[in-house]
């Protein structure tokens, strides 16, 4: 590994050819940021701003129109097992059991290695007892755990996560977040996590990168210097959350002014 940042994005531009005569659709314009090794970074922004596009570029699924993405000092030229993508929708293979899914990226390992790695990540992801279950028998949260275990078992340096908990219910999401932070603390992988949920970003990240509306650039970078485990009621947490809300230009108040109650004379 080089001494530089784990991920370096410099002056990244992405545009798609538009339909008909509308010209190109500009998605990202001049995005630059660094991610330190072992850092947990969340990328937030208004919906449709190009967060997922950005993640697809650094993962190597989409070539940028201009600019570069470096991972561990090397330019990204395509997908690579050293950086694994955890998908928003279901990327778990339904024709394989939980165990076979987690083993999927271990095809170059010996049998004994494979069994040990699977056992380790089954345990870590809370999948004990479900090794031989089929994905269709699992809840959405469990499937997402399989996907995370599969990603980690491959031994990547970087994890890219594209709204991995977006389809889960509120309570499952909270549990998955705290488990993800625990796993990250044990593994110390670099994580780049895209979400549209600002609260989620504040609960998880060391640093939050806020993108503007499309064509998006980095609007602001907000470090979240809160100790873990994070207390979601503490004034420091609420202050950090409000900073992100402010950076997004979102009010933390819901509704308009109440009509003033007139007291009868």
């Amino acid at each position: 590994m080089s001494a530089g940042p784990a991920v370096r994005v410099s002056d990244l531009w992405v545009s798609f050819p538009g339909k008909g005569t509308n010209g190109a659709i500009r998605v990202l314009e001049g995005v630059s940021f660094d991610v330190r090794r072992g850092e947990f970074v969340c990328i937030v922004g208004p919906s449709g701003c190009g967060k997922s596009t950005l993640l697809n570029v650094v993962a190597g699924f989409l070539p940028p129109t201009r600019g570069t993405a470096l991972v561990e000092g090397e330019p990204v030229r395509g997908p690579d097992p050293r950086r694994i993508f955890v998908f928003q929708e279901n990327g778990v293979f339904p024709w394989l059991t939980v165990r076979q899914n987690i083993e999927f990226g271990l095809h170059r390992r010996s049998g004994a290695d494979r069994a040990a790695l699977v056992a380790h990540y089954v345990e870590m992801a809370g999948l004990g007892g479900f090794e031989d279950a089929w994905p269709r028998e699992l809840s959405g949260g469990m499937k997402q755990r399989v996907e995370i275990a599969r990603a980690l078992a491959a031994g990547p340096d970087v994890l890219y996560m594209d709204e991995p908990f977006g389809a889960l219910d509120f309570l499952t999401r909270l549990k998955m977040r705290s488990d993800l932070v625990r796993i990250w603390q044990e593994e110390r992988k670099t994580i780049l996590f895209v979400t549209h949920d600002l609260e989620e970003a504040v609960q998880l990240a060391d640093r939050v990168i806020v993108l503007g509306p499309r064509p998006a650039g980095v609007r602001e970078t907000v470090p979240i210097e809160l100790p873990r485990p994070r207390d979601l009621d503490s004034p420091a947490y609420l202050a950090a959350r409000d900073r992100i809300f402010a950076a997004m230009g979102v009010s933390v108040r819901v509704g308009g002014e109440e009509p003033r109650v007139r007291s009868s004379p």
């Binding site: 993962a59 699924f61 395509g78 997908p79 690579d80 097992p81 694994i84 993508f85 998908f87 929708e89 279901n90 990327g91 293979f93 339904p94 024709w95 394989l96 999927f104 990226g105 095809h107 089929w134 994905p135 269709r136 491959a154």
Partner: protein, 257 residues
């Protein structure tokens, strides 16, 4: 489809009742018509027994199943790889899809004169016709299955560093298997449908031959219907067999709830 326990009795009882009613109507209408040429149900059963006793039933069934097995087997060997490749490589698709779409609607029966010209009087002609009948549905379903594959599976596989061959073996093949299997089931039905027509020409065994031979012998319409009944029953058996494959965990995810 699963039925609650109480319903299962109906699922067996109702079709049996409908069948019994139909046999009754058949029997009565033949009696009332007074026309000797139409066989009554019990004569058809007697016909099947008679064929079995002479050893012809097994011989004809085996002959027909053999032709279907070889023709259909060849269609699987050609159709599945061809369909997967055509679905994956756009240029192959551009090159061959129009040809397939032109050949597909030509009934295998239309090929009979050419088949006889090429293969003369032996098993190869019906085998060729069965192959033709089943290879297109298999190819087309495999092709469509690859084109409809969830992109997230392909991306995940690439991410884990799979080479092209591994990608085919470990992702594209299993991901398309449920839909391919449905195509295989349809194709098997068509293959069995065609075996009878294929055996009506220039062959001296098989269930199709039985029907034509019995007709030519005159006054043997009970054997004609016996042949028809056997074809129907075996067709049902083949379909149930392939349906069983759809219950395996490796493909069950592909068939909804």
């Amino acid at each position: 489809m699963t039925a609650p326990d109480g319903e299962r009795r109906w699922a067996v009882g109702l079709p049996l009742a409908v069948g019994a009613l139909l046999v009754l109507v058949w029997d009565l209408s033949v009696r009332l018509s007074g026309n000797e040429i139409y066989p009554k149900p019990h004569e058809v059963v007697a016909g099947i027994v008679e064929l079995a006793r002479k050893g012809l039933l097994v011989k004809y069934v085996v002959a027909s199943l053999f032709r279907v097995t070889v023709g259909f087997g060849l269609a699987l060997l050609v159709g599945i790889p061809a369909g997967l490749l055509l679905g994956w490589f756009h240029r192959l698709y551009f090159a061959f899809n129009p040809l397939i779409q032109v050949l597909r609607p030509i009934s295998p029966i239309a090929w009979i004169p050419l088949a006889i010209l090429w293969f003369e009087v032996d098993d190869r002609a019906p085998i060729f016709l069965i192959f033709l009948a089943s290879v297109f549905p298999i190819t087309v379903s495999a092709m469509a299955a690859v084109q409809n594959i969830q992109q997230v599976y392909i991306r995940a596989a690439r991410n884990f560093g799979l080479g092209r061959l591994e990608l085919f073996r470990r992702v594209i093949f299993p991901a398309t298997l449920p839909q391919v299997l449905t195509g295989v089931r349809i194709a098997l039905g068509v293959a069995w449908l065609v075996v009878v027509a294929a055996e009506m020409v220039a062959i001296n065994s098989g269930l199709g031959y039985l029907i034509i031979d019995a007709r030519n012998a005159g006054k043997s319409y009970h054997l004609v219907v016996a042949g028809m009944v056997m074809i129907g029953l075996i067709g049902l058996g083949l379909d149930l067999l392939v349906r069983r494959l759809e219950r395996f965990d490796e493909v069950r995810w592909g068939y909804g709830r």
